[in-house]
Amino acid sequence: MFRDASLMAGKDLRVELRSHVTTQQVAPFAILMLILFGVALDPDRGILTRASAGLFWVSVLFCSLLAIQRAFTIEAADGGRDALRLSGLDPAGIFLGKAAAIFVQLGALELVLAAGVVVMYGTEITGLPLLVATCLAATAGLAAAGTLYGVLAAGLRVRETLLPILLLPVLAPVLIGATRAFEAALGGAAADGWPWCGLLAAFALLYTAFGTLAFGPLLEES
């Protein structure tokens, strides 16, 4: 299973290295969103600094939609589903591999966004351990739930429009948890943020476990 997962993740990341979709399209989109928030919310009144945690995670959420769509566009091309079923790869391995690749790409995006928030919104980084732990837990949750719902929507004609309505309500707890944890860390009250981080970790574990089990039937029967 883990051999298959690393093979799959390696392949997805190699596709990304060759195609540069995340670096050349999703990352600029993320920065663009930060600029648009800045334009929409008056930058002089300190709203941006106060809301930076929320704006950061909303941006991550929208970027994750793009990353997930992309991860399954690769597979949808040219009969990929049959090929995957015939490949001999363990479905659980495919799930973990794809989720891992999305995790890595989202992690990179978060670094870019964090730099953008610090530079453009004047947010001061405090409580770094909590920030890092929150990022790891939240991103794992986004990647796991996203991969599960991504394969659900993959192969349907309306996948671009269906995925957001299926996935975003499910990810609402991640947005809430990650934003609260970030606010706690940035507000210097890290102790308040750790329970949220725990919630995020539980969410990630739940969806990883469920996805590992459900991916096989989904690949088989949809």
Partner: protein
């Protein structure tokens, strides 16, 4: 020795549509069987059934000793067969060599097998480093064929394998198929290139309306004749 493929009254549904409406077919080890019939006759569905990708709704289907009525057995069958379909399953963003390595390693092929497959399909050298997106249709077919070869399948299921290949490519394909059979593999193929395919095949089976028994199976013949 037990036949590699044993189908008795096999029915397969696509949604509610019985694409296969009662197939009786036995294929012995080492045989090359050509499936022919009009478009929509069920040839592709039959090949996908034999690959363990579709369930049987009725009748019996045993391939390489795996009973296809059993999901688990059908899944474990897939490692042992190779299906070359209309779609190739290649990743456009990756190079030819990347693709063959990925699909080969996924099936547990050794690095030497993978290199050998690459060479056998004439894809070593310059072509190996090209992105699949830049390939011609024929070169894509070759790449897909190399992916198949690297898996060393026991049962080869080739859906219109000659389509899109140039003369050299077709000769190469026929050679590869003959070599595979010589080393113990069994082959089922569908083709509209009846002359070429019939020369390759040991036996021709006609499929119409999702059945094999509606028209009598013909002996190998040069001319396609339809006999009621």
């Amino acid at each position: 020795m037990e036949p590699v493929v044993q189908l008795h009254g096999a029915v397969t549904l696509l949604g509610r549509f019985p694409a296969l409406a009662g197939i009786d077919l036995e294929v012995a080890a080492g045989e090359i069987v050509l499936l022919r019939g009009p478009n929509g006759a069920g040839k592709t569905t039959l090949l996908r059934l034999c690959a363990g990708l579709l369930p049987v709704a009725r009748g019996q289907a045993v391939v390489l000793g795996h009973d296809l009525a059993n999901r688990r057995q059908a899944r474990s069958l897939r490692r042992r067969v190779g299906l070359l379909g209309h779609a190739t399953g290649l990743y456009d963003e990756l190079t030819v060599a990347d693709n063959i390595h990925f699909w080969g390693r996924a099936a547990g092929a050794s690095p030497t097998d993978i290199i050998a497959a690459l060479t056998a399909c004439g894809l070593d050298g310059r072509l190996a480093g090209l992105g699949v997106a830049t390939l011609s249709a024929g070169q894509r077919r070759r790449t897909a064929l190399a992916c198949l070869l690297a898996r060393r399948p026991e049962l080869w299921l080739l859906d219109e394998p000659h389509g899109g290949l140039d003369q050299d490519g077709r000769d190469l394909l026929d050679d590869i198929v003959r070599q595979a059979v010589a080393s113990g593999a069994t082959v089922m193929l569908s083709s509209h290139e009846l002359d070429r395919a019939a020369a390759l095949a040991h036996r021709v089976v006609t499929i119409v309306g999702g059945t094999t028994d509606a028209l009598d199976p013909l002996p190998t013949s040069e001319e396609p004749v339809l006999v009621p």
